[in-house]
C-alpha cells in the first residue's frame, strides 16, 4: 500500500514537471482517432469499386468491362504513385504555396512511429491516397466507349501528378487556398470540381460518340448497387475528414446523410414534374449529387443548411444533366460535369452561404446567410476564388496532358473498336454470356 502511494506521488510530480516544461503539449497517438481514420480509409477505398459499378451500370452493355476496368486501374496506379511521389507533392514542405517538396518521396523519413496530429502518419497517407484514387476514377465516366486503354494508363499518373497533387496541396497541404481561408472540408474543390474540369477537357478532346453508339444503361440495378456503396463509403469521406473520432465527425456524418437524402428526393420530384415518371437512375443520381454538394461543407454547416444544399443539388444537377449538356453540346457520357462539376460548385459556393460558428466554434466563420456580415460576404468571395481557380487550372492542365497523350499513345480508339464495343475490341472479354450449350465450346 505504501509502495503504491510512492508511485502515485512520483507520477503526479512527473505530470506537473511535464506540463511546465511543455512535454505535455507534444502530440501523441490517439488510438480512437487512429482507428476511426483507418476505418474511414477502408470506407473511402470501397467507394472506388462502388463508383466502378455505378459507372458500369450506366454504360452501354458492350463497354461495361472497359469502364469498370478503367476505374479499377486508378486504384492500381494511384496507390503506387501516391507512395512514391503523390503524397510528398501534396503534403510535403511547401514551395511557393503551390506544391509540396520531394522530401518524403517514397515515404522517406516516415516511420511507424511518425505522427500526423493524433494519427499515425501512415494512417493519414492511407486516408489521403483513397481520395486521390477516387478523383481519378470520377473523371473516366466522361469518356465511355471511345478512349484507348493505353491512353488511360498514361493519363492517370500524369494527371494525378500535374493536377491532383498541386490542388490538394493548395487546399489541404499548406498551399494558398488553405492559407487564404477557403473552406473545403472533404474535397468539393480538390476532388469534385477538379475531376469535373478534367472530364470536360477530356471529353472535348475526345470528341462525341457516334449517335448509334449511345445506348441505354446496361444494368440499372447495378447503378443502384454502386450508388449504395458510394453513399456508404461517403461517411468515411466526410466524417473521416474531421481526422478525429469526435463530435464534429458525428455531426458531419449526419449532415452528409441529410443532404444526400434530400437531394435524392428532390431529383425524383424534378423528374416526376419534368418527365412524368420518377426513375431509379434518377434517385441514385440525386443521392450522389447531394453527397457531392455537401462534401465541401460537411463540417461547416448546420442541418437546415444541409437540407437547403440538398435541394439546390437535386434541382441544379438534374437540369445540368438534362438541359445544360444538350444546350452546350459536349458528350460527357455519364454526366461527370453535370453531377460532380455542378454539384461541387454549388457546394463550394453554398459553404460560403451556410457555414456557421455553431458547428466550427469561435475560430470559424459565419456564412453570408447566417450573419449577413462583411465576414460572410468575404467568405463567399473566397469560396468563389477557390472554385474558379480550380476550374481554370484543372481544365488548362488537362488540355496540356491531352496533347501529350494524343501524340504518344493516341487518345481515341478506332471507329471499328467503338462500334464493336471496347470490351471485345480492347479486352477480348464480354460482360455477359447468355449462350446455350450449342453456341460455343471452351478451348
Amino acid at each position: 500500500m505504501r509502495k503504491f502511494s510512492y508511485i502515485s506521488i512520483l507520477m503526479m510530480v512527473f505530470m506537473v514537471v511535464a506540463s511546465q516544461t511543455g512535454w505535455a503539449d507534444e502530440a501523441t497517438l490517439d488510438t480512437g482517432d487512429n482507428a476511426w481514420i483507418l476505418t474511414s480509409s477502408a470506407l473511402v477505398l470501397l467507394m472506388t469499386p462502388g463508383l466502378a459499378f455505378f459507372y458500369g451500370g450506366m454504360c452501354s452493355v458492350k463497354n461495361i468491362n472497359n469502364m469498370i476496368m478503367m476505374v479499377f486501374l486508378c486504384m492500381a496506379i494511384i496507390s503506387v504513385q501516391w507512395v512514391f511521389w503523390g503524397y510528398t507533392l501534396s503534403f510535403g514542405t511547401d514551395h511557393g504555396s503551390f506544391i509540396g517538396g520531394l522530401g518524403m518521396a517514397g515515404l522517406r523519413g516516415i516511420t511507424p512511429d511518425s505522427l500526423s496530429g493524433t494519427l499515425s502518419e501512415y494512417t493519414f497517407v492511407a486516408f489521403q491516397a483513397t481520395f486521390a484514387i477516387i478523383t481519378l476514377g470520377l473523371i473516366l465516366g466522361a469518356v465511355e466507349g471511345r478512349m484507348r486503354f493505353s491512353a488511360c494508363m498514361l493519363f492517370i499518373p500524369l494527371w494525378a501528378t500535374a493536377c491532383y497533387d498541386p490542388v490538394c496541396h493548395w487546399v489541404w497541404g499548406g498551399g494558398w487556398c488553405g492559407n487564404m481561408g477557403i473552406l473545403d472540408f472533404a474535397g468539393g474543390t480538390v476532388v469534385h470540381i477538379n475531376s469535373a474540369a478534367a472530364a470536360l477537357a477530356l471529353c472535348l478532346f475526345l470528341g462525341k460518340r457516334k449517335k448509334s453508339n449511345i445506348r441505354p444503361p446496361a444494368n440499372v440495378p447495378m447503378i443502384a448497387l454502386g450508388a449504395g456503396l458510394l453513399w456508404f463509403g461517403w461517411f468515411g469521406f466526410n466524417a473521416g475528414s474531421e481526422l478525429a473520432a469526435d463530435g464534429r465527425a458525428a455531426f458531419a456524418w449526419v449532415i452528409t446523410n441529410t443532404a444526400a437524402a434530400t437531394a435524392a428526393f428532390t431529383w425524383i420530384v424534378c423528374e416526376w414534374i419534368h418527365r412524368g415518371k420518377p426513375t431509379l437512375l434518377g434517385m441514385a443520381s440525386g443521392a450522389v449529387a447531394g453527397l457531392v454538394c455537401i462534401t465541401p461543407a460537411a463540417g461547416f454547416v448546420g442541418p437546415l443548411g444541409a437540407v437547403q444544399m440538398g435541394i439546390m443539388a437535386g434541382v441544379g444537377c438534374y437540369f445540368a444533366c438534362v438541359k445544360m449538356k444538350a444546350a452546350i453540346g459536349y458528350d460527357d457520357a455519364l454526366d461527370v460535369v453535370g453531377v460532380h462539376g455542378v454539384g461541387g460548385t454549388i457546394g463550394a459556393f453554398a459553404t460560403g452561404l451556410y457555414c456557421t460558428k455553431f458547428v466550427t466554434g469561435p475560430d470559424g466563420v459565419d456564412g453570408l446567410f447566417i450573419g449577413w456580415s462583411a465576414e460572410g460576404f468575404n467568405q463567399l468571395g473566397l469560396q468563389c476564388v477557390g472554385f474558379l481557380a480550380t476550374w481554370a487550372y484543372a481544365f488548362a492542365v488537362t488540355c496540356i496532358i491531352c496533347f501529350i497523350v494524343k501524340y504518344t499513345t493516341g487518345l481515341r480508339t478506332t471507329e471499328e473498336a467503338e462500334d464493336k464495343g471496347l470490351d471485345l475490341a480492347l479486352h477480348a472479354e464480354a460482360a455477359y454470356h447468355f449462350e446455350t450449350e450449342s453456341t460455343g465450346t471452351l478451348k
Binding site: P216, P217, H274, K277, Y318, K323
Partner: protein
Amino acid sequence: MKRVEAIIRDEKLSGAKEALKALGVAGMTVTEVKGHGTQKGVTEVYRGRQYSVDLLAKIKIEAVVDDNDVKKVTDAICEVARTGSIGDGKIFISNIEDCIRIRTGESGAKAI
C-alpha cells in the same frame, strides 16, 4: 390442318398455355421474339435522355391444329391475351400441307 401463330404479351403466356391445354391442344412451340406493330415501340427516359425502343419483347406461340379447332383456339387466345390496350399482339393463320411424327412415321391429322 392450320398453323395458328399468336404474337402476345409475354406476361400472357401462362394464361394462353392453360387455355390451349384446356382445349386439348397437344403441342405448341413458344419463342421469345422482338418486334413492333402499329404501336412503334415505347420511349424510355434515362437521366432525362429519351431512348426510343422500337423492338419490344413479345412471345410467339405456334400450334398446329385441326381445321375445325381453329376458331375455338383463336377465340381462347384472344380472350386470354386481350387487355384492350395497344400492343396486345396478333394471330396469323396459315395452311399446313402435312405433319409427320418423327418417332412413328405417322402423318396427317393423326400426327398433330
